[in-house]
Amino acid sequence: MRKVFFLLLVVGCTVVAQQTPSFNLAVTGEKTWTIRFGLGSAGLLADESLSPGQPALTQSLRAEIKGTALDLITLTASFNDQLGPEFQDFLLTVDHTPWTGELGRFVVGAEGEGLGVYNKRVLGARGAYAGDEVTVGALVTRLEGISESRTFSGERGTGETTFTVNDPDEPWRPAPYLRSVEGLAYWPLRIQFVEGLSEVALRVDGSAALGAFLADWGLSYLEEDLAAELVTPLAGGEFLVLRDGGDDLALRLAPAALARRRIQDAIDAHNTRLGLTGSNRRTYPLIEGSELEARFLDEWSAFLSVLVDEDAYPFPHAQYRRYLSLGERDVIEDTVEVWIRLPGEEEFRPSSDPDLVDFAWTLLPADGVLRISFPDGFFTDGAVRVTFAFRREGGSFALGLSLVPGSERVYRNGKLLVRNTDYALDYEAGILLLFAPLGPEDELRVDFERQRGGLGVVTDYERTLFGLTVNVPGWDALHLAVYRAMDFGTPLPTTRTMPNTHTVATLALAGEVAGWAYSLSIAAAENVFPSDDNARIPSPNRVHAISAAQALDGAYVIFGHQNGLTVYKDGAFAGYGAAHGLSGRAVSALLPLPGRLLVGTDGGLTVVRLTEPTPFDRVRSWVRITKNDGLPGTEVLALASGDGLVYVATDDGLASFAPADAENPQRWQPLALPADDTRPTSLLRADGVLYLGATDGLYVWSEAGWTHVAEAPGPIHDLLARGGEVYVASDHGIRILRGGVGAGWIVLGKAVYDLALDEGTLWYAAEDGLWQEAGSAPAVGGAVTAVGVGQGAVWAASLAGEDFRLDLWRVGERVERFTQSQTKLDGRDLAQFRDIPAAEHTRYGISGGLSLSRTFGDWQWDVRLASRFPGYEEIGRSGRSDGHGISFTARYKGAGPTTLELRGGWDVANLTTRPQSRLTASLDWRWSDGPTASLSLTPTVTGSGVVAFERLEMGWRAGLSNKTQAWSWGLSTSGTLRYPSFYAAGQLGATASLQPATGWTTDLSWTRPVRTTGTLGEETLRATVKWASVLDQVSLNASWQESLRHHLTTDAWRSERTIQADARWQAWPVPGGDLTPRLFATLTATPTEERWTARLEADLVQSPVVLRLKVTVGQGLQVATGRTDQTLALSFAWEHGGWRGLRPSLQWNRSWTLLSHPRYPTEVTEKEEAVLRVTWEVEGWRDVLTLSWKPRDQQVSVTNRVTWPFASGALTAQTSVQLKDQSLDVTTRADLGLPLDTLLVALGAEPVGEMWGLSVELGHILGLAPETDMAHALFLGVTLAVRF
């Protein structure tokens, strides 16, 4: 395909070759080269992005190019090398009638153009021939992104959270903390929690027992560091205070995670205190998630408490089974649905089920927490699923990183929005900012493409789009198009998906028949391995090796398989992978040595030190040795030992070494493979002879090199020695070699994968089971891939089948099977995959549409028929569904005060699977002739089936209003009537507005929900009085808003009150100038908070001096806790503009916030900042001195910047002094910028043009810090720039 693509590009170029060059080119932009160099302190230079002694060259290029030639070739390009490839645009257009062509980046399927392709930004070429009667076009492009779609609903987000006992993906593990039915760990607080004053911390019990505990775990070195900081604060996001009756403090972070982090923090503190770096640094010693770590954390937690003020709540006393965190705040109460799955059941039931009367829950909406009260028996194996909606604020929407620029389509309620008019989109950060916020019922859909690779989407294949179009305007605007998007490439064993091929063919006609304007389109699609149905099947897992090893705490049996290691001890299995210390993912060989276990993986060799109890759970037990360390290859395929040496066979060579040198590959002796393409499978050292089993047969090593043993054909799977004989397991059976010569077969005619000796008896794993030598029947049936001996028994592993069941077996006096729930061994190979058949993963579909339009008198009629069958998808549109429908619209366009529109339609979705039909109609009537009356009825009938009348939703909206000069009023009702549940829900509303006198406005509004069943909601009454007056010297504004609301189930009204007033005086003369004061005051009172604030501002202007003073005072009361806060803020600004060339200004801000509560001492928070700026400008000179002082942060900075422009350039010198945290930095820099010609002429050289400029920078940084030596840094930079 790529060759075709290339050919087309070259052919496209030859079109250009027909012309005579004459051109008009406009290039604008800038190119810069900067060389910088620094000497001195590395820390100081880091602020300048420099390293001592290292010159740094940086460049930039920005160019906008537009060129034309012969009126037929156009080049437009935009380059900025500071941005990524996706932001570079170029398009070469050739327009030579009747031929047109484009090469570069363009969009296929944009609005109005697309039929079959949905707005794809592509890179490639397309061309067209436009003849007198026909237009033919073709395109070959590379698709740059992956289609995605996001939908946002109004001011709401929706969520679904399921809480289980075990992790659904790995059922042998407990569910994650925040998804466990056990819920959050919490402690009922003995005193009320006061926000802003109560302090929460983690406390370590520093008693003598702590030292003993640390010593037991080899962590005595942490004793001093822990004792130095026994109490550490908890961040606000790590806990919740749930106010439901009393106060409960709950942890957002699992207690075990907090406990682990506290130890890790102590280790970091230890390293910092002692300055430990590199290999000397202490690290967390335990494998996270291991059973040993669980035991450690359990013991460690006994020393930990959550401290609320002085009240301690020990970790072991934490309670559970009450609070489930939904993961979102501000959950909307009416939207929560709780579904419960009882232990032993498969299906979830709604919590309203009569059988679940013992399951009670309440929502704490602000915190997004469900408070539950469930029977204890539920927590053994039950599950809870919660669906809910939550409030979201703001108009920004996160789409994720690396969007393809220009690829988006944004719809608001189905209407396409325009970029930079309706929204803005940051393609790099993936943030969409909507200029007009969504209303509660609005839906925002964003279709876009995400960049392949980089920070975007990882893909397995190259994806290319081909297209061919034919237009015949004379044949009712006939339009034919065929598009094919193809993934190119062959799936590797590790590839997770099959390559997709998506083909769409379309036909469109438009014209007029019998007075009707019509538009017809028909399309068909074939989608082979569509993106949601292309996952390849995991390969079955396979155990390659079984071995026994002895550690200090006893004997282990180890199983090596495609996903890592599984270790058995004391009746329990544990799994380990690359995250724990393995060099690679798949294990192919095991070799126990005294005190060590060697593990051969596809990423190298791993040495597990067995010198401590529970060695597999300790980080320091694992040593990785890879090719970079000296391993003679990437994959370790076989291991053996004998005659005092260990042998390692890799994919690229062999090595031998003494067991003591296992972790020191520099001391290994290399040995070549028999041939470059030899792939080892097994090794054996017996009777002084080294045997190498490989896929192509058996080899024996001697001083003369490798000798192929023809009598033992490959592929070899295992080698074993007994007595003077060597047994060779292969696809053919078990061959006996005696003295290197074939001496018969133990097994012939079936594949044997592994061999083991148990007290002199040969066991072998074969394709038909586990066999004992000379046995008449297999001990274990089915395919067995590995056999080994350990803990006094024979162990075997069966090959995982199509159901991914992989069993382990222990064969002693009886045969014992270990299921996967016991072994925790995944039957899937998590990184190897198999193909799936295309026939079962291909979707076909057709789509068609017909639109008719005609005018009859005052009525405009539109009829639409459309059908999209299952399987039809446009290229690039994410999501799919089938739909079919017919609709009409009739609009009355006559004269008069009346407008009327009738609509009707019938739609069916999912026709072939679960048909859902919808019959809709609407009537919109409006009459306006002074008073205005409106009525809207929107009945909708839906149901399952093609024609179904199961549910009726009748929406209504009616209103009557009038407006005169002095007053206005309105009555309205809206809502929905539903059947067969037969209830109505809506609201009644009334508004009245009166202007009784000039300057006075009174607004009244009333809303009352109307529901025939369910939650009734709140009735609201709001009255607002506004007054505004302009007197001679002052303008006055005041408003008083009183809101009363009550839930319809209670008579208790809640009041909210807001009173605002401001006065703005005109400037009046006072001694010293003109004074312009302003006064603002606000009082708010809600059931939870009462607050007042007052602010006085005054400008005193005595030209040329301007003084501005601002004083703000306020007080608030948190009703629930009785906490009060008082604030006082002062601001003073002074500016003098009367001195020619000199402009000084001073700004000073200071604020105090006092928090008071009967139980706590008053807490005062102060902020203060002063900035003095003096600007001096005279005869082109400009000097700006800025002094900034932040006493609370102990920070002072002084900056002076002087700019001296001269005839041919400018000189800038800047000195800044910053004192912070007792450290002083002084930076002095000078920049000289001038046209390059100035320098060249001065040097006697030829000038090069005005567009060239040169800038020289010289700077010095001085650093002073307590208890350290004075530090210096010097930096120099030269920038050459050209503007064009």
Partner: protein, 267 residues
């Protein structure tokens, strides 16, 4: 270190991809201009401002003094910059690659220099090039190589470059094996415009890989495309006054497109 080099190589869609071995000297391929990248790496038999990198035997055909600079921001993670000055028969370049601080105590930074010279006798040119590589971090060292080159510019152009005829790798576990690249180019005049078709074979005698490319246009505008081990490439050149701007977009099979731009000043 090789992992970083490989990542950078792939990111830039370098011509070295597919040749099996990635050493520190790949920096010199990364520094090659956008013209060569836009032809999928083809250039052994072409004479161009980046002859210093493509084939130093083409240096005698360089007209005037040309300053060529190339810069790439690699996903915001590393900066590659190169500046070369070439004149008839002589050229030199400096290259810097800086990934800054990657993690605690870990940085990747390397620098290189190239000096080349060529002589011509009629249609035949011969050249030599010295490449100096100085890894700075994480491992410091110094290494270099001597390359030899030939070019015949008859009705067709044939070039050959022997890389690392003499070499000393800067890091002990790395080797710069000698390898030969040969190329052929066919320049044509089509309707007053120049059309050049070219083909290169790299690592001849080892694991050879091939690249083909074509370039068409007049003085102010050239468009080009190519296909090689790194995938499909396309690009162009616009020239105005003493300046020329080359760009290239390389489309690796699976990875995202790689972009490169070069700026040339003709003195």
């Amino acid at each position: 270190m090789r992992g970083w080099l490989l990542a950078l190589l792939v990111a830039l869609g370098s011509v070295g991809l597919g040749q099996g071995f990635v050493g520190g000297d790949i920096l010199f391929d990364l520094a090659a201009g956008a013209r060569r990248a836009g032809m999928a790496g083809v250039g052994v038999a072409l004479a161009s401002p980046d002859a210093l990198f493509a084939n130093p035997a083409a240096l005698p055909w360089v007209e005037g003094v040309q300053i060529l600079s190339t810069y790439a921001d690699l996903f915001g993670a590393a900066h590659l910059g190169a500046v070369s000055v070439t004149g008839p028969g002589l050229g030199g370049a400096g290259i810097g690659l800086d990934a800054g601080t990657i993690g605690p105590g870990l940085a990747f930074r390397t620098a290189g220099a190239v000096l080349g010279a060529g002589v011509r006798l009629g249609p035949v040119g011969a050249g030599a090039r010295a490449r100096l590589l100085r890894p700075i971090a994480p491992t410091a060292g110094i290494g270099g190589a001597l390359d030899l080159a030939l070019l015949w510019r008859g009705p067709i152009h044939i070039g050959a470059v022997g890389r690392s005829i003499l070499s000393h790798a800067p890091v002990s576990d790395e080797a710069w094996p000698a390898e030969w690249a040969v190329g052929i180019a066919l320049p044509m005049n089509v309707g007053g415009m120049t059309l050049t078709l070219a083909c290169d074979a790299s690592d001849v005698g080892g694991s050879p890989s091939f690249a083909v490319g074509g370039e068409l246009g007049a003085g102010w505008l050239l468009v080009r495309a190519g296909y090689g081990p790194a995938g499909i490439a396309m690009g162009g050149t616009v020239g105005w006054g003493p300046f020329a701007l080359d760009w290239a977009l390389v489309l690796p099979p699976v990875l995202p497109p790689a972009f490169r731009v070069s700026f040339t000043v003709r003195l």
